[in-house]
Amino acid sequence: MTTTHPTDAVGDGTAAVGYPVLEVARDQVLDRGEGLDEGQVLAVLRLPDDALPELLEVAHEVRMRWCGPEVEVEGIVSLKTGGCPEDCHFCSQSGLFSSPVRSAWLDIPSLVQAAVQTAATGATEFCIVAAVRGPDERLMAQMREGVAAIRAAVDINVAASLGMLTQEQVDELADMGVHRYNHNLETSRSYFPNVVTTHTWEERWSTLEMVRDAGLEVCCGGIVGMGETLEQRAEFAAQLAELAPHEVPLNFLNPRPGTPFGDEPVLPATDALRTIAAFRLALPRTILRYAGGREITLGDLGTRDGLLGGINAVIVGNYLTTLGRPATDDLALLAELSMPVKALNATL
């Protein structure tokens, strides 16, 4: 059994205070490489703020032991923005809310230019994203042309995030040379109906299975701070561990004007850091990426704490509809922390 109460590890009432779940984490995750289960993750999420430095330290050790010091750097771009028929309550690109985001398509030369500029930052991953339920023929045609043009122009791994796929579309993306596919479960299965009503968690899961079975790398994460309970956050970590994705992008809700979650409070930095560490302890070998919302949730100082608390990948520069801190700031921070940027075609 795990509790969140500190115990007197020394026994004479003097110095060291330890938290049982962190001792379990050292033994089970750090030494043996076995992720924490749902109940253990919940115990981590319930740790008091006093335990945070020790928690981050264990999560960082786990990341260094099972992933190494490299950090994977990625840029993302929106090929088709806005006007989505789905109702994900956090999303400014849904056409169902009164969000100020207008529909737009990026043309192929601009897409290629974005890939070239992303590669120039040192990034090895470039993810093409579209605000759709799933691709139609027009989008697949744009992808065919766009991915071929990027591959002809610059050396960078191309990933995609185009919503729910058919088997045919999975195969076609693999043929184009898309090496990784992002499809977020967003939140736990039990909380999902509070976030999305136009499709189900199970529909997302089945796309993920098709992607994995086709041999593409699976990228699947979500957003924390959408009103889910700590139990549901732990449930989500366990569900991701069951999926065992290659990469988990971790977003913190950035409440967008006009969306149903537009008035949700921003997650406190301490909760965000506890979540990062807890997810690392549930997923010791996964690429755990900082995605959207870190600027407003964590700020500069917290960004650093997360990189020393389990994170081993970043999205640099801007997001899809909002801006990030300059890529140069992140790269300078990585250099300062002696965390080398992962090279192209290296394996974490």
Partner: protein, 70 residues
């Protein structure tokens, strides 16, 4: 250039406070044209952004380089 409208919320500049909007615009591109309140067509890329009003033209931020030189 006169700023009659808030680039984030689209409300008139002189109607109420826009301190939160102005703070948010550090990490968001403008959404409304400050001259006519039209919603702009915004494209965000990793290293920059463009925002176009059909009446008042295009704004740019970051290092966006237009490969077609438009």
């Amino acid at each position: 250039m006169t700023e009659d409208y808030c680039a984030r919320c689209g409300e008139p500049r002189d109607a109420g406070e826009h301190l939160a909007c102005d703070a948010a615009l550090v990490l968001e591109p403008p959404r409304y044209c400050v001259r006519c309140r039209r919603r702009m067509v915004v494209q965000v890329v990793p290293t920059g952004w463009t925002a176009r009003c059909s009446e008042h033209g295009e704004l740019r931020g970051g290092d966006v380089v237009d490969p077609l030189g438009r």
